[in-house]
């Protein structure tokens, strides 16, 4: 399992890549592995507001439904629409092709509260103990 160093992570297993005041959001390699074959995603639309820590959509595997929680608050400016026809992309490439939404955020302080790769790895180890 990989956890790129240039990303920030949440305890709910989302990642985000910060570019200026934009955050690209997806779920981690660990999350996709735990879910198993992803067969459905439900994402917000461009222009929708999302709030840090609140649900912005769901991913579903054959067996289970899992909510997606936003790492930041702001407005959705891009959605990875091809995922709705090819949700398995999230299993195959969680950090690049499997990105879900891009959010324009207002409060940069929110991103400071997110974990870096080392902290997330440690968090995972503690969680599975």
């Amino acid at each position: 399992m990989t956890f790129p160093d240039d990303l920030k992570y949440t305890k709910e297993h989302e990642w985000c890549r910060i570019k200026g005041n934009r955050a690209v959001v997806g779920i981690t390699d660990h999350a996709q592995n735990q879910l198993g074959d992803i067969v459905y995603v439900e994402l917000p639309e461009v222009g929708d507001s999302v709030k840090k820590g609140e649900s912005f959509g769901v991913v579903e595997s054959t067996k289970a439904v899992s909510e997606l929680f936003s790492p930041v608050s702001g407005k959705v400016v891009e959605v990875n629409d091809p995922l709705s026809d090819a949700p398995e992309t999230i299993n195959e490439d969680a950090y690049e092709e499997g990105w879900m939404i891009q959010v324009e955020f207002g409060d940069a302080k929110e991103t400071d509260e997110l974990m870096d790769a080392a902290a997330y790895k440690k968090f995972l180890e503690e969680e599975t103990e």
């Binding site: 198993g36 074959d37 067969v39 459905y40 769901v58 579903e60 054959t62 709705s84």
Partner: protein, 361 residues
């Protein structure tokens, strides 16, 4: 503490992901549910279903007693034949859905659901009508070899001529030198076998089957694929699609209720229910809008809840969202439309004929 089958260590070594199901630590998947599902539809898969229970009726009263506890007609089940049906309470509620393997009129094996092992035994023992009832669940392991290449794989390990065992028939025989009850039954909709053997033999039998199946592309399978395979066939799952509060008529199992076979537990209640008409019925449906129906989602008619989804998934074989739901009789006919409340969004659904999936010829 959850129980483990004799194959627990084999599963862990093979990289299975273990979950707790009905008080058992069972593999939910090895490779992935879609890969395992596909292997059973296209080739052959091997499942550990040792969590299932076995209750045996013996003695001169065995046949008569079980006939009074079972909704189907064991009089139409020959020695060496298996029959699916329900055990019902006096009021018609389903205690369990089971398969009876009739070895002889004085020796019938009842295969029960894992979650119901003790409940069924208590129920059957409490209404034994003079039969000897034994809970042999711990003594037996069960492996299910399922898929179009199952017979070819199993034939390599046994001198029993498998082509002589018809669907829902069984025989005693040796597989890889181990004594088994070899039954042409299953829960996947594919051709296949369920092998009952002494618990301690399960790891040997598993390994022999995996080796014999290598060339055919055998895949070990978990409960995830078992569930998606059974749902494509609209096979009911006890505890999800039905329970003690639903009758077989409501659950769409009237084909295994023989009201005219003579007196049996639940007969009078179901006779009355049939005459009065049902208030709900389990139907198969597909979504005609995006989403995946799940157990517990409400069925909506004109925005009001009128029923509930009991099982749902995205069918790996068909690519569409399928499910089972209790609906009012007025919505039960094929082609009827309703909506499913998926997290506050009403997704359109249509009642369809089941099974959802038709086996490849």
């Amino acid at each position: 503490m959850a129980q483990r089958t004799p194959l627990y260590d084999v599963h862990v070594r093979a990289g299975a992901r273990i979950v707790e199901f009905a008080g058992w630590q069972m593999p939910v998947q090895y490779e992935g549910i879609l890969a395992e599902h596909g292997a059973v539809r296209e080739r052959v898969g091997l499942f550990d279903v040792s969590h299932m229970g076995e209750v045996v009726f013996r003695g001169p009263k065995a046949f008569e007693a079980l006939q009074r506890l079972f909704t189907n007609d064991l009089g139409r089940c020959a020695d060496g034949q298996a029959q699916y049906g329900c055990l019902c309470r006096e009021e018609g509620g389903i205690v369990d859905d089971v398969v009876v393997y009739r070895r002889a009129a004085d020796d019938l094996l009842v295969c029960v659901n894992a979650a119901n092992r003790q409940k069924d035994y208590d129920w059957l023992q409490g209404h034994a009508f003079g039969a000897d009832v034994a809970n042999e669940s711990d003594a037996w392991s069960q492996l299910a070899l399922q898929g179009p290449r199952a017979a070819e794989v199993l034939q390599r390990l046994t001198s029993v001529r498998l082509s002589s065992i018809g669907t829902y028939r069984f025989t005693d025989g040796e597989v890889a030198g181990l004594t088994c009850l070899i039954a042409r039954t299953g829960y996947t909709g594919e051709d296949g076998f369920e092998l009952f053997s002494a618990s301690e033999q399960a790891p040997k039998l598993w390994t022999a089957l995996m080796d014999a199946g290598r060339a055919a592309g055998i895949q070990p399978c978990g409960l995830g694929a078992r569930d998606s395979l059974r749902l494509e066939m609209a096979y009911r799952l006890y505890g999800s699609d039905m329970d003690d509060t639903t009758t077989p008529l409501e659950a769409g199992l009237s084909w295994v209720v023989k009201l005219d076979k003579g007196e049996f537990m639940g007969r009078q209640a179901m006779q009355k229910q049939k005459e009065a008409g049902l208030s709900k019925k389990l139907v198969g449906f597909t979504l005609t809008e995006p989403g995946i129906p799940r157990h517990g989602h409400a069925v909506l008619q004109e925005g009001k809840p009128v029923g509930a989804v009991t099982s749902g998934t995205k069918s790996p074989s068909l690519g569409t969202s399928i499910g089972l739901a209790y609906v009012p009789p007025g919505l039960a006919a094929e082609g009827s439309t309703f909506a499913v409340d998926i997290r506050g969004r009403a997704a359109a659904a249509k009642v369809v004929k089941t099974p959802f999936y038709a086996k490849k010829k």
